[in-house]
Symmetry: C2
Subunit: 209 residues, 2 copies
DNA sequence: GCGTTTCTGTATTGCATAGTACAGAGACTG
DNA sequence: CAGTCTCTGTACTATGCAATACAGAAACGC
């Protein structure tokens, strides 16, 4: 399956057009999260979104272009699922609530599916650099609240001044992704729990004395 | 793309047959690591392995069966790439050498590709339970030397007796996977470095006092 | 050697599916 | 209300590719 590198395709100008485009993206994002990129055809998307072939090619340059665009929508969904928890990660307690929420979400889902964005990495990261960059942006958006929270803690003197907020945040994101991956593959939410317990310990060790 | 659930297909009895089967698996494993599951056709495999269509269906029950089988081969390759480092993970120094080796490998590869097994998770984990189980077995094999090493350290009194070797090993594997995923998506081996620094700190905190 | 099993080569089939063509509905604009 | 732009519906084309059919070579057993 090698598809053409297709054009950007303009954004819709009318409200109706924007709604259609949104419906396409949400349907695609959902189907991909359920089945994986290569098990979703344009026909599936048409059915799920209730649109015709012409709309797909009106709003997107082709399948590859649609896939690139869907990364942002998936990121929206992932961040949305954590809503409230991501708002102010500027205390250890808030970070722990966030962690607990992530574990609880996996328990609710039966440890199925892993991280929708993380799963896209294995499927799309090496396709082209634009796609990889879109994934990187997704993680940036996810990590940003944590960076902000930790920075605020450091400013308030709750984190040691010599601690690297960037490194701590990266380490935490890695724990989340790795924990979710093992959770998925082992169908065991405790995998995420253990990974996050480790991250918590490292964060705590950076607390001011 | 929906393929039939195909049969197990017997193992070859002759040496020549085993060699052919091995060549098919290695070619498939390599191509998939480079391009991803859905960018590798049976025709590609035939070319790369120098076999005909009939061989593929002689040794495997079909495309899906080949994919399941290739998970083991990919695991072999990943463990092989760490050879020597995985042998005796029963001191902090050995574990650090292992971590350093993983980071060095990513630097050499330009942070491209991530973890071949981890990448398969996003592509195959939700296909069917047998496939997911094969991936789980791959991680089991990878984690086993660490569990053995940590157990040995605990037996020798270098780890606190109340520390959970299983949890520590799971946390470490999560750090590796998450670190590799971020390394791949950001094209930055320091992501793995930071994740492993975190794991190292947690392991060190379980050292006997 | 002869039959049987294992292994290999090639041509073909059938289907799923990405992409295209083209017409038409609806809305806004002067 | 005529003209233009955005949006939508459907039928069609082309092709990549998994799967099959079938024949033949090579090895092995008795």
């Amino acid at each position: 399956m090698q598809y053409r590198n297709a054009m950007p395709a303009q954004l819709p100008t009318t409200e109706k057009g924007r709604a259609t485009r949104r419906r396409i993206l949400q349907a695609t994002s959902q189907l991909i999260a359920e089945r994986g990129v290569d098990r979703v055809s344009l026909e599936d998307v048409e059915r799920e979104a209730g649109v015709g072939r012409s709309q797909l090619y009106h709003y997107f340059g082709g399948r590859d272009d649609l896939l690139r665009a869907v990364i942002d929508t998936t990121t929206d969904a992932v961040l949305g699922a954590q809503n409230g928890l991501l708002d102010e990660l500027d205390t250890f307690a808030a970070i722990e609530r966030w962690f607990d929420g992530l574990v609880a979400l996996q328990e609710r889902r039966g440890a199925v599916g892993g991280c929708p964005i993380g799963s896209l990495v294995g499927q799309l990261a090496e396709r082209d650099d634009q796609t990889r960059a879109a994934l990187a942006t997704g993680f940036e958006r996810w990590e940003q609240p944590l960076v902000a929270g930790l920075t605020s803690m450091q400013d308030r003197g709750e984190l040691r001044p010599d601690a690297s907020v960037e490194s701590l945040a990266d380490m935490t994101m890695a724990a989340i992704q790795g924990g979710l991956l093992l959770t998925q593959v082992r169908r065991d939410p405790r995998q995420l729990r253990r990974a996050l317990d480790g991250a918590r310990a490292v964060l705590a060790s950076a607390a001011a004395v």
